[in-house]
């Protein structure tokens, strides 16, 4: 095992897609080559993440892998990466969904090399966010994710793409810039308390802060992360960004970028400011419940299928945040599992809406309909993932939601009961989507091709994973047990209502 851990796997994981991105930029004129290069690199990263998962599937307390190097010593910034059970699961999800994103983008014809370079650059940024343990390094990766997504939406998006791209960039940057100030503030307080200048998470934890100062600093972190989650009322960038983004962009946005917000809260927000975090939990629960219902209602009214799925994301992330707010072993494990589930089902739904759009050149529910008769295989998968998304028992979302709901009941029965009603709302908008798109009379007499092998393969794998996670989620919960238990000890107990 020692030989194995001496290899800097985490750096390889980040720099492999980065190198792939640079290579794609250099070879940007040779589009076919870039496409295969992107596939090869994302496949390589996925194999690496899967290997790491296989090696550490038993989990364990503390860091499974850890790297620490000097970077900008004068400012106290170090290059620290670490992997634990929580990041392991999200890294695996990233590796898998990026592969999906590359595969669903196979038909991108404009500036292909540039497109795949951006996808790989984003993969490097996302993996970096899930692995960085120095706050400045984390911030760097956090911003690095933004730039490729800005271009993906702005260049390959739909009609209002520039508005959506700029809105996305400004919203997320607004949160994160204040977080940067809070990071610096924390660093200076640590130095003033006699510590060596440092931005490392492990050094900054356990700092004695006055309550008002802690609340301010926590608020800055919270804002950055909640914008990304996104929680009502800072969610308004999401429907625009999702709707205008190309399919791969939506898959990554929903599947991965939203998860970085929750991950940031769990990794940095809560451990750094335990008292303020404990005090904020009921408010988080309130916002999460409002989000579940508000987003479900808005989703129900959407005429655009993609926008509907986008709002369903907001509702699902409400469940995830509710699990955090409940703050017990079951609920937090459920939240992290639900992030993976949501990444798979929503990613699949966005891919399917993209496939329909490619064929029908419309995403409006009132212009679609009767797809079951035209493209039965595509429709089957559409129904399957819609059912998964609304929480059908036996499929993955059910497993996550039930854990969250049980946990929420244990902490506060009212939260649990209210959230249960939210599940019914989810059923309402998902069934409306299915009804409008699949059933009814077929509109338009055009003949559409059904799934091609590439699309079918992606969907079959996704469907199998959905079944696996729904029927037997234990392997994915195993590495979470100890990190979550450690996390729960961070917050002062008994501070909950």
């Amino acid at each position: 095992m020692t030989e194995f851990t001496h290899i800097p796997w985490l750096s390889i994981l980040i720099f492999l897609p980065l190198a792939g991105a640079l290579l794609c930029l250099v070879l940007w004129r040779r589009e076919e080559l870039c496409r295969w290069l992107a596939l090869a690199v994302s496949w390589g990263v996925f194999v690496l993440t899967a290997g790491l998962f296989a090696a550490f599937r038993a989990g364990g307390s503390g860091w499974l892998l850890y790297e620490d190097h000097a970077w900008i010593e004068r400012l106290g910034v170090r290059y620290i990466l670490g992997l634990d059970g929580m990041s392991l699961l999200l890294v695996l999800l990233s590796g898998f969904l990026m592969l999906v994103a590359v595969l669903v983008s196979w038909r991108v014809r404009r500036h292909t090399g540039f497109f795949f370079a951006l996808l790989l650059l984003m993969e490097a940024g996302i993996l970096g966010v899930f692995l960085a343990l120095d706050l400045v390094l984390f911030y760097l990766f956090w911003e690095l994710m933004l730039i490729p997504m800005f271009f993906l939406i702005g260049v390959w998006g739909h009609e209002r793409r520039i508005y959506a791209a700029i809105k996305f960039f400004l919203f997320t940057l607004a949160g994160s810039l204040l977080m940067l100030l809070a990071i610096i503030g924390l660093h200076l307080l640590h130095t003033a308390a006699g510590g060596a200048p440092s931005f490392a998470l492990d050094n900054l934890r356990g700092l004695e802060l006055s309550p008002s100062l802690e609340a301010w600093l926590y608020a800055a972190f919270l804002l950055a992360f909640l914008v990304k989650v996104p929680l009502v009322p800072v969610h308004t960038w999401l429907p625009d960004a999702h709707t205008e983004a190309p399919t791969a962009g939506s898959v990554i946005l929903a599947g991965l970028l939203l998860k970085t917000g929750v991950y940031g809260l769990l990794r940095f927000g809560f451990p750094l400011f335990p008292n303020a975090a404990a005090a904020s939990l009921p408010w988080l629960a309130l916002l999460a419940l409002i989000g579940i219902f508000h987003a479900a209602w808005i989703a129900y009214l959407q005429p655009d299928a993609k926008r509907l799925v986008a709002y369903s994301s907001v509702a699902h992330m409400g469940f995830v945040v509710l699990g955090l707010a409940a703050w017990n072993q079951t609920a937090v494990e459920g939240s992290i599992l639900q992030m993976v589930n949501h990444g798979l089902t929503t990613g699949a739904l966005f891919a399917l809406v993209g496939m329909i759009d490619e064929r029908a050149h419309t995403r409006r529910i009132d212009e679609l309909g009767g797809l079951w008769g035209k493209v039965p295989r595509l429709s089957f998968f559409f129904l399957f993932f819609s059912l998964a998304s609304l929480g059908l028992p036996g499929l993955n979302n059910f497993a996550g939601e039930i854990l969250i709901l049980i946990g929420a009941f244990q902490t506060n029965p009212v939260w649990g009961a209210t959230a249960f009603a939210g599940v019914v709302f989810a059923a309402a908008y998902m069934l409306r989507l299915v009804q409008g798109v699949l059933w009814g009379a077929a509109r338009g007499a055009l003949f559409w091709p059904d799934l091609e092998p590439r699309e079918g393969a992606v969907l079959v794998v996704l469907a199998l994973l959905v079944l696996w996670l729904g029927l037997y989620p234990a392997p994915f919960l195993a590495p979470l047990r100890e990190p979550v238990a450690d996390l729960l000890n961070v917050l002062p107990q008994g501070g909950l209502p």
Binding site: W28, R74, L75, Y139, L140, L146, I147, I166, L180
Partner: protein, 471 residues
């Protein structure tokens, strides 16, 4: 002046004597491109001399420093001059600039900037400042057939002459209060125990007003957008980087020696800093002319530099010098891209001129994007590390409101930088043929881009160097 002084002055002598020699050569051998190329070589030699030669004395005639701090800036400004000349070769040839004069003036400006950065006496400060300001009056209006250039030159001249008056008067008052020009002794007049304190304060106010004009802090900024827009693009690059950076380098030297009286200046500088960030940011939002946008953005950036100056202490000074280097790389690069896009018929100043160019000229489009993201302070870029270091210093010194304002300004600034990126990559290309760029221009832009990214990813060596040489 002794032999040792001359040796210590050698890098600057290369610039000044090279300038004179090329001016004469130009009279008999009117080949613009070749002369500018030779000028780049001369400036490059000066960079090497400043880096390689250790001067035997640390101060020259009681006027200029020759220590590591002065040498660092000599090398930086000589490098800026070399790149400016490299960028000007095609641009100048197409506009039939007389190469000898142009090259001589740019080199002389670099010599002035180097002298100003290392000034250890108020006389040295005046000499250095006037040396390059006089040169810039001519350079801004160098294109004789361009009315906008003539207007810009005149504007800079009138405003500059007033500022020079204030500077001279301020220096005279400071001299009256202490009886010496030499720093830091000349600053002791601000001591409350000194009977000449009111005179010294008045002198300082005038000095700051004059320097504020040169670095275009709000409310002394009104000339900036017009002059940038009218000046030839490579000259605007020199104006935006060297002339401002050199003044800040001198200000750092001035305030570093200020032991008493600093507290009196803080509120004034604080106000200038806030105004520059606010006004610059909001004025830049609506600019459709790239040069005007960069002018307002430079005003905001000078606000950040002032924040670092206010933070004082070793962290603040290190942050300031690093930021000046980072700002120089990215701003010079941005003006370099503009220069390389310009045709004989005119410059590509307007946003509309750049539509879809990211795909038509991918290398320069990518370079401009890097510069703009760096100016906005998005990592991993020199601009981010610079701002990050400044915010650390400012928060450490207790300027929380300034830091928050700086962060908000940089958030808003993202919008106007992104507008350019949007035009570059997200709009359909017009059929306006822009120039394909020359090899020299490409090299200069590539160097700036490399510095911008390199200082963002591996800033440690430069930060360590700066920490050793700050006064």
């Amino acid at each position: 002046m002794t032999w040792n002084d001359l040796v210590a002055l050698f890098p600057i002598l290369i610039l000044a004597l090279g300038s004179a020699a090329l001016l004469m050569l130009g009279a008999w051998w009117p080949r613009g491109r070749e002369l500018m190329g030779l000028g780049s070589l001369v400036a490059g030699l000066s960079v090497l001399a400043a880096i390689a030669l250790t001067p035997p004395v640390t101060e020259i005639s009681g006027l200029f420093g020759a220590g590591p701090y002065a040498r660092f800036f000599t090398a930086l400004w000589a490098l800026v001059a070399a790149l400016t000349l490299l960028l000007s070769r095609r641009y100048g040839a197409e506009r039939r600039f007389s190469g000898g004069e142009y090259t001589a003036l740019v080199l002389f400006a670099a010599a002035g900037m180097a002298l100003l950065s290392g000034a250890t006496s108020l006389v040295g400060l005046f000499l250095g400042l006037e040396a390059f300001t006089l040169v810039l009056y001519i350079l801004i209006a160098f294109h004789r057939e361009d009315d906008a250039g003539a207007e810009a030159g005149l504007k800079y001249l009138v405003m500059g002459a007033v500022a020079t008056g204030f500077l001279a008067f301020g220096i005279a008052l400071i001299f009256t209060s202490t009886g010496t020009f030499h720093l830091p002794e000349a600053l002791s007049g601000l001591d409350p125990a000194s009977g000449m304190r009111p005179v010294a304060l008045l002198g300082w106010a005038m000095l700051l007003l004059a320097l504020g004009f040169k670095v275009s802090l709000v409310p002394f900024h009104l000339w900036t957008p017009d002059v940038y827009q009218g000046a030839p693009a490579p000259v605007a690059g020199l104006l935006a980087t060297g002339s401002k950076g050199a003044v800040f380098a001198a200000l750092l030297g001035l305030t570093a020696g200020l032991e008493v009286g600093w507290d009196d200046l803080v509120p004034l500088l604080w106000l200038l800093c806030v105004l520059s960030m606010l006004v610059g940011t909001f004025c830049a939002l609506r600019q459709d002319n790239l040069k005007r946008m960069l002018a307002y953005s430079s005003i905001v950036h000078m606000g950040y530099a002032l924040m670092a100056l206010l933070a004082a202490g070793p962290t603040g000074r290190t942050a300031l010098v690093f930021y000046l280097a980072a700002y120089t790389a990215m701003t010079l690069g941005a003006f370099g891209v503009l220069t390389s896009f310009s045709r004989a018929s005119g410059e590509a100043q307007w946003l509309g001129d750049l539509r879809g160019l990211g795909y038509r000229h991918p290398l320069r489009g990518a370079a401009l994007t890097i510069f703009l993201f760096s100016l906005a302070g998005v990592p991993p870029s020199a601009g981010f590390i610079g701002k990050f270091a400044i915010f650390i210093a400012a928060l450490d010194a207790g300027f929380i409101a300034l830091a928050v304002l700086g962060v908000l300004a940089s958030l808003v600034s993202v919008y106007y930088y992104l507008r350019v990126v949007v035009v570059l990559f997200m709009s359909a290309a017009d059929d306006v043929p822009l120039h394909g760029g020359s090899r020299g221009e490409g090299a200069a832009i590539a160097l700036c881009a490399l510095a911008t990214l390199g200082l963002g990813i591996l800033p440690a060596p430069l930060l360590d160097l700066i920490a050793q040489l700050i006064p």
